[in-house]
Symmetry: C2
């Protein structure tokens, strides 16, 4: 997997960001790029398209690529977290807050749901999967009454190993365990490496599902500062691990794992630079700490982008890779998978003791689709669709929300992380929106501490309809009225 184009694009991004390449000037021609960087035509074109996707270039017919300030410039970026040392690790106590939010959300009909971190059914290859299942059922009349296999179906595991390669991971089918969703994969990973009372370093903010898992297992979370542009602060983590190693008191809780979403983070939508991903892996290896990588959204970058997984830099088995087909293939299936690295035997035992095996039918249908040309086609369509929608949603926020609102257009996925103007509470917005039939996710769900109470997360996986636009307008008005 060549990521040469990203290296070259990064080179130009610096010049674009600092203004060396000013607006309305012409980017060096594709031919020039090929010569300067000694790359093929296709790589040079990838560089241009990537910068175009990020909003920095505009293709003008017969004239080449011209620099523009990205549209995102209409909204200032989200504040960087203060570079303060991490707060002490604490047991996660988020359940009641979350339950209350989820229960309130379920109690009311919400015609506009902007909290759902999954695409609409039509975004996914329903017909192909359904056809495949029906064929399997006809071909294997006793499938449903035959005991399922340990570890997962061989065909699915082979297809997943091929998909891991897209992330730069060299894995064999035997290294893979099929799980009930990414959620179970992360549960297994944590249970394999940590005991109740132990500490786990997490991003701040981080996906509330991770925090729930920590709480359910009686673990402490140490929230590490995380940039809305470049993800987890490896410096801050290094500092925390160093202090942990120097700690004299053996009774003190030790950091056993780092849980991280380096690619298309939920809720931030950012991607850690490759160099940082590699540093992160090396750091965990040096401290003999497990790195649990949640790669759920990795397939949802802009068309043509490829993201390397942190796991791809790992030779020691310290990275436990968790992924799922729930967001990128079929929200109705519970198919996750895990590459447990050096904890394979223990994860295998825990998986067996927790839930036994997955059903064959969905595994076979998913395997068939992943190995077919339909997979790449679906992926491209999904990426195009999501990119268009992200732009329209970002545009909607820019048009309807008042000055003081901040947002980094995400590099992929289907989530917007929005910083509200001074004095506006995400929780208050959640309650008010619910009254108006609009569901959003308040920032307070994404931390064990009251750190993101001025944030909301909006999902943009569903089409930007006039109804959504009206909801955005309503939300913007409401934010404005709360600023007083």
């Amino acid at each position: 997997m060549s990521l040469l184009y990203r290296q070259i694009a990064d080179h130009y991004l610096i010049a674009l960001r600092d203004g060396t390449l000013a607006a309305d000037t012409r980017l060096p021609s594709v031919r020039r790029l090929m010569r300067d960087h000694d790359v093929s035509l296709s790589t040079a074109l990838q560089v241009c398209r990537h910068l175009e996707d990020l909003g920095w270039l505009q293709a003008r017919p017969r004239s080449g690529y011209f620099v523009q300030r990205p549209r995102r410039a209409s909204l200032p970026p989200v504040s960087e977290a203060p570079p303060a040392p991490p707060q002490p690790a604490d047991y996660v106590g988020i359940h009641e807050r979350l339950s209350s939010i989820l229960a309130r959300g379920q109690a009311r009909p919400t015609p506009v749901n902007l909290a759902l971190a999954v695409g609409p059914p039509e975004l996914y290859p329903a017909a192909a999967l359904s056809r495949s299942m029906q064929q399997v059922l006809r071909r294997q009349p006793l499938l449903l009454t035959t005991m399922t296999r340990r570890h997962g179906h061989p065909a699915l595991k082979a297809a997943l190993a091929r998909r891991a390669l897209d992330r730069g991971i060299h894995a064999s089918a035997d290294d893979i365990l099929v799980t009930f969703g990414c959620t179970q994969a992360m549960n297994l990973a944590l249970r394999a490496v940590a005991e109740p009372g132990d500490t786990v370093a997490v991003e701040s903010p981080s996906f509330y599902g991770m925090l729930q898992i920590l709480e359910g297992m009686g673990l402490r979370a140490l929230e590490i500062p995380t940039s809305p542009r470049t993800g987890l602060s490896v410096d801050a983590l290094a500092f925390a691990l160093q202090r942990d190693a120097e700690e004299a008191d053996p009774a003190r809780s030790r950091i056993r794992a780092v849980m991280c979403m380096p690619t298309l983070h939920n809720p931030l939508g950012c991607v850690m630079p490759d160099a940082e991903k590699e540093r992160l892996v090396r750091l965990c290896e040096a401290h003999d700490v497990a790195l649990i990588e949640d790669d759920t959204y990795a397939d949802m970058g802009s068309p043509g982008t490829q993201f390397r997984a942190a796991k791809s830099w790992c030779r020691s088995g310290h990275v436990i890779y968790c992924h799922s087909l729930n967001k990128n293939l079929a929200p109705g299936l519970r198919l996750g998978w895990i590459l447990p690295g050096r904890w394979q035997a223990r994860v295998d035992m825990l998986k067996y003791a927790q839930t036994r095996f997955s059903e064959d039918l969905s595994q076979m249908a998913a395997a068939e689709f992943l190995a077919s040309p339909g997979w790449e086609r679906h992926l491209n369509q999904m990426r195009e669709t999501l990119k268009r929608q992200r732009e329209r949603y970002v545009d909607g926020v820019a048009r309807h929300f008042p000055e003081g609102t901040r947002l980094n257009p995400p590099e992929g996925g289907m989530l917007l992380w929005i910083e509200l103007p001074e004095g506006v509470s995400g929780d208050a917005m959640f309650d008010a929106a619910l009254e108006a039939g609009i569901k959003i996710a308040p920032g307070s769900m994404f931390s064990n501490a009251p750190r993101f109470d001025r944030f909301i997360r909006l999902a943009c996986g569903w089409p930007y309809t006039p109804q959504v636009d009206a909801a955005m307008r309503w939300l913007g008005e409401r934010v404005r009225s709360m600023m007083a």
Copy 2:
């Protein structure tokens, strides 16, 4: 649910066992039964059929029912456990032993598998389930790409609530959570009530899956003497709970739960008498301890039998009921369910944090089948088949195994628990059988202590073929040769 017929049958069983009703004498006529016990014709007939199923009666055309010694009499019963006080609770450390057994079992081809506690695919309604799935897929083209529901599919939960009634349990669909198999149900139950380091009372012997769950969660097992005829000794448990309550040292691990399989126990195959089930529930209530009831095999009694669940005596919510459709409906599906009683909110949270929701398709197909007349038909056929097979397997053991072998014909299910003659090791038998291409389960799998090393468990869910008979002969010969 009337269990009157069982009470009446129990009355006659005493007379049959102690010889008051001697062999070849005639049982009082059905009319006489109706009059003496003031019951309907159908109840009186149920009494006779039940005694016939147990092997104590023989129906002679136009003459009525005659007493016979059950065929089982050819094998003496398994030794009752000594009525000793329970051993101290200990952390479960069975994983390595089990892994080694399972790995050795998988490494060799075994043409005859007598270790599989599940029926053959043909025992189950594969065609109906498959048809139902195909209909659902045609009716709901977007099902596979639509997010699944929290708690489980309403139609399945409604059907399961109806099935719970067959066990004497009054539950509404809302009380039910659908899980990934009974294994996840038991995991959730334990995690809801116990913390690592706590103690859980279990039967001795008990299903190795339970012991694995305890080990995976860092719990201690307190093995309670369990009779091969009447199940868990409630007296011994009462003694253990009493001592636990009196314990002055607060640092000592407390008994948080009792895990139990009161109906058709794995591996014993016995059923606790109703009075004992009720005592067990009252005892747990009095000590404010959770009773986790695994009812997996309850549908597999002889035709016409109905077993009440311990849960049916519980009004306080102390009993957590776990069941599955894996053994009785479709071994290829991972559909379990749980009635979490007073721990509903916590189990719900844990389930969400562990694996999210189950897939809709299998739930819908199972729901349709459970609500159809096909369910009762399937149940009756399965019970008939299993009863016939149990008899043939028991007969096989009686014919081929040497004197000194002991066995209680199970009251249902598909498992035989066999006590080998003095000096013969179950582990040695396992190894030897494996060499010969025969897989069996050694007794050592069923306890944390080396208590059942002279036992083996043979599954009898698959047809008794000439190949199986040859394997039985081989096993019997081998036991004989090891007695020397």
